[in-house]
Structures are given as C-alpha cells and as structure tokens.
Amino acid sequence: MIPELQGFLFPNDIHIHWSLMIVLYPYVTGLVAGAFIVSSLYHVFGRKELWPIGRFSLVASFAFMSVATLPLINHLGHPERAFNIMITPSSSSAMAGFGLAYNWYLMILILEIWFVFRKDIVLTARQSRGFKRFVFSWLALRTYDISDEALRTDHKIVTVLTAIGIPSACFLHGYVGFLFGALKANPWWSTPLMPVIFLFSAVVSGIAAMILMYMAAMALKGLPILRQTVATMASWLWLFMILTVTLEILEIITLSYESSEAWVIIRQLLTTRLSFSFISVQLIIGSLIPFILLLIVVLLGSQMKARVQNILAAAASSILLIQVFSMRWNVVIGGQLFSKSLRGLRSMYDPGFFEKEGILPALLILSLPFVILVVFERFLPMFRSVEEAYARGEIAAEDAEPAESAH
C-alpha cells in the first residue's frame, strides 16, 4: 500500500508505531479509574443512592484492570521480554513506572474487594463442599471470623483502602496522560494539561460505563433500575464531562492563540486527517449532544418518568463512551499522523479487522472484563443487597425511591 502522504515527512516517519492497541490501553485504564471513582462516591463520599452498585463498580474496576496490560503486551515487538520492565526498570523512564503504578493499584483493588466480599467468601466456604470449599477456604485465607466486630473492622479498612485508592486511581490514570504529555518531541502531546485531560475523561468514561452496565445488569437479572441511582450518576457525569470538554477546548484555543511553529501543522491535522474524529465526533456529536441530554436529566429528571430519564442517561452515556474513545484516538493516532519535520502529514491509519493489533483483538480484549464480571457474579454475587431488597418488596417498580438498605 502506498501511503497518501502530504508535504515533507522525515523518511522514517511514514510508519504508525502506536496502533489501535495503544488507543485501547488508556481507554481501558480510564474505565478502571472511572469505575473506581464511582465506587468511592459510595464507599467514602457517602452517596448512599449509589448502594446498588457499590460492589459492582469496584469489581468492574478490577475486571478492566485485569485486562489493561493485554493491549500493551500484544503491541510489544517482543512480548516475551515484557517482564524486563519489572526486573530492569530504567529509573529515568516514565514508562518504567508503569509496573509500580499498576501493581500498587491492583494490590489496593484486590485488598479492597477481598474485604468487601470477605463475609460472602467465608459463608460460601462454609456452605460448599469439595473443590469449591477448598478454593474458597483459601480465598478466605483460612480466616473465618465474621462476627459483627470483625465486619465493622472490615468496613473501616474498606474506607481507608478507598481513601488510598482514590489518589492511586487518579495517579494511575494521570500517569497514563503523563506518558504522552511529557514527550517534548511531539507538540500535539507535550502539554502539562495532558494528564489532567486524561484523568477527567477517564472519570467520564467510567461513570458512563457504570450507568450502562448497571442498567444492563439489572435488565439481565430482572431487577428494577432505581431512578435515584441513575440520576446521581447522571449529574456526576454531567459535571465531569463539562470539566473534560472545557479542558479539551482550552488546550486547542491556547495552541491556536499562541500560534507557535507547531500550530501550523496541528491546524492542518485537525482540519484534514482528524476533522471527523476530532471536530465531528469528539466536539460536536460527542460533547454537545450529551451535554444537552444530561442537562435535561439533571434539571427535569424528577419530573419525567423514570423510563424516559433512564433512556436519556443511557443515550448520553453511550455517546460519551464514544467521545472518550475518539479523544484517545485523536491523541494517540493524531500525534503520529504528522511528521516531526512539522512539514507533512501521513496517510490515515486504518486498523485491519484481523490484524495482530487490529479491530478483532481489540474487541476480544474489551469483552474480557465482561466475562470476568459474569464469572465473578457466578461465585460472589455483587447485587445481593438489591436482590434482597427486591424480595422484601422494598424496591418494586422502576419509579421506586431507594429503600434504606442494610448494605
């Protein structure tokens, strides 16, 4: 294939090295951080109306975290050497910190999930037989104290872990932005705003994903979707999307107003190669429409039928998931579409469906967290309190107000 080049490119600059996989990586870690923020809104910030997804969002964060490294490993020229990052890290490398940041956060997540589900693990270990009993007794670390006092201690530990987890999640994702923002060679990446934009858009994608996944899970389990739970997430989503889009636009305005050497090529990039994914998808469809939809939900939500509110919130969430993906695309791919000569543009990057780093592997990686969630749910139910409240008749129709839960 002869690439459609425009202007003068440095001869080595005709290849795209960071593929769809590297778009996927910040997207997935963004979902990790965002889902964790949702769970911390419940566990630390006392948003009690999020009780149905307090556990679910935590496990979702873990599920996304479990696959976050897969796009990276698939991308490496030598995946069999991936462990070099852990055993011979270079102290000056931003990327070498990944092992540390990733493992630290994974450890906090696993600990927190363990403490949140400890009672269920112990009960399962006691009530089952054979191999399952063996596995769960080890999962319980052979500690079976679930007295009220022990559970109160668990609860305190969960609060502390979440409190540590929030800055860790923010750090993990801000760090992903830093990987791009700290490269002075690339004027489209090199801005101190990059980690901040990544972080805020991560929260947007995480809340949007949790809204949709909550609705899907309730539909699958035949449980009611609570109006107040969706309304709370929708208002947080609205706040974070406003912050994100503001930052994204501010960055462009600053670049354009400064009119530095790089702006000449970045302007061409945005109006030609990225006109669809940046202007149409990221800014107009992806930002303006969900802004209006969520505005309606936030201002008029209580006056409309729960069903209408849920549809509007789901539509806004779906669009915002695409918006965040296109933002990742525009950063990762966009940053490689112009040559470092700042005089020329590469041809568009078009990932093939069956390529090693193409669309099919990306879809497989994105579907894995859902497999993990289904398996997790099979052994340790995440919606037990919702099921119990429903069985007791405390929550019934879609319009039901949230019942006080013992959870």
């Binding site: 001869p11 020229g77 000056s92 490398s93 990327m95 500690t143 000569s341 005089r343």
Partner: protein, 258 residues
C-alpha cells in the same frame, strides 16, 4: 477448618514478600547487568579504552552534493531494511518568496532528480541527517528497560537483545532517526558504526562521502582537526530549543532545517 492466627498470617505474608524482594534484587535483573559490565575503567571491547574517546560528528551542509553515497554505504554496512533509514539526505529549495520545498526521495539513497518547478528558486541545498547522539538523549531517558544507553565515548546505542520493542524511544526522538526494525522487532538507529570506530575506522557514511561533508571528531583528541573546527567555528545543532545537547554539529545550517 483450622483458623490461622493473625500473627501467623502476617509472619507468612512477610516471608513471601521478602522472597519476592530477593528475587527482584538478585534475580534475572542482576544477571542481565552482570552480562554487560560497564564503567570502572573497564571496557567490554578488549584493548579499546572508551574512557580515552568521546565522539562527535560534523556536517558541513555547504559541501553536500546529495549524491546518496552515504545512505548507500550505511545501508550496505549495517543491513538497514528497505524503507527505513539510519541516515538520509534532505533537499531544500527555497523560492524568492521564502517558500521552502523539501524532499528526500527514498532518503536520497539514489541521489536526487531535478525538480521541475515554475517558482524561481533563490537558494537550494542538501542537508544530511543522522542520529545526533544527544548528550541528553530523550530516547535514553524514556526507554523503560534501559536497552537504549549512551556509551562512555558518547554514542547512543540500542541493545537489541534487551529491547522490548515498545516504540517509546521512537516517539521520544525529536529528529525521527529511530525506527522499529521489521526483522528484529526492536528499535534501530545509527550506531555511528560503533563496530568500526572502536577499531579506529571511520563510520561508513564518513568514509563514503566524496566531498568530506561528513566528518567524525574525537573530542578527547587534542590534535583532531575536526574537533578543532567544532570548537572554533560557528556551529549549529538541530532543534536546540529542546536542550537535547546534540553531538552532531552543522556548519551552514539554514533556519528552514529542523
């Protein structure tokens, strides 16, 4: 089921954590470091003492005629895969209005054909490019595994046996001198023909240049004439604002070149 006491549990956990730490500190990482001893005056290159040399590169852009011999020589010497370049030549044609037209067909491998253009060319020149072997190299800074490093004699190299092929160095290089070698799937770039210079030979591109536009300097050799030119004449480097401290110096560098 027997209950494990908290003390017992913590004890075992500490033991496991200690085991992991020992593995990381004394494990394969150390083995890799031991296989590549550097510093302490010793050199992995036998008689050659890398403490006695520090290389720099001088390009006299005024002299380059765009013949492409350097690109050919580099390709032959280093088996550079097609479509990738350890060195290349750029041609600049600047009109009377100041509009610059730049090209580098196949990196200048086969020289340049005359451009048919209607604008009046005020000046035209060739600029050879290669790795700048920066003293503050961004590629060395970002390499997550330390596979890219700067030798004591001032050459930036890649260890292809240790490189994971993540491509971060390629993104970090402002001069686009790096590429991912499609055969080895590792980062690749100009080595300053390290295998030659450590034997007292010139890099292939320097040896092949018919007009002396490319020259190698040893900055630790008091009597090196190229060193003398670098320290006494008015030299420029590419993208100096990035503070990468390039060790490839240019004479007669035009403002259009970055």
């Amino acid at each position: 089921m027997d209950n494990v006491s908290r003390r017992e549990f913590l004890g075992k956990a500490a033991l496991a954590a200690g085991g992991c730490a020992v593995f990381v500190l004394l494990g394969p990482g150390q083995a890799v470091r031991a296989a590549h001893p550097v510093g302490e005056g010793g050199s992995p290159l036998g008689d050659y003492d890398w403490e006695q040399h520090r290389y720099a590169y001088l390009i006299d852009a005024q002299k380059c005629i765009g013949c492409g011999m350097c690109v050919k020589a580099c390709k032959a010497e280093n088996k550079v895969p097609d479509g990738n370049f350890r060195t290349w030549i750029e041609r600049y044609e600047i009109s009377e209005d100041g509009e610059a037209e730049v090209d580098s067909p196949n990196g200048g491998l086969n020289g340049f054909e005359e451009n048919v253009t209607h604008v009046k060319i005020a000046k035209a020149f060739f600029v050879p490019k290669t790795c700048n072997h920066c003293a503050a190299a961004p590629c060395v800074q970002v390499c997550p595994v330390g596979a890219t490093y700067r030798t004591k004699d001032g050459v930036v190299l890649v260890d292809p046996k240790h490189c994971v092929g993540c491509g971060y160095c390629i993104q970090a290089c402002p001069y686009a001198v790096r590429f991912l070698n499609p055969e080895t799937r590792t980062a690749d770039k100009c080595t300053l023909c390290y295998h030659r210079v450590t034997k007292g030979l010139k890099p292939a591109c320097v040896a092949a240049c018919p007009v002396g536009a490319r020259q190698l300097a040893d900055m630790k050799d008091q009597f090196d004439p190229v060193r003398k030119r670098i320290i006494t004449e008015r030299v420029a480097v590419l993208q100096p604002e990035l503070l990468t401290e390039p060790q490839c110096f240019y004479l007669a560098l035009d403002k259009e070149v970055r």
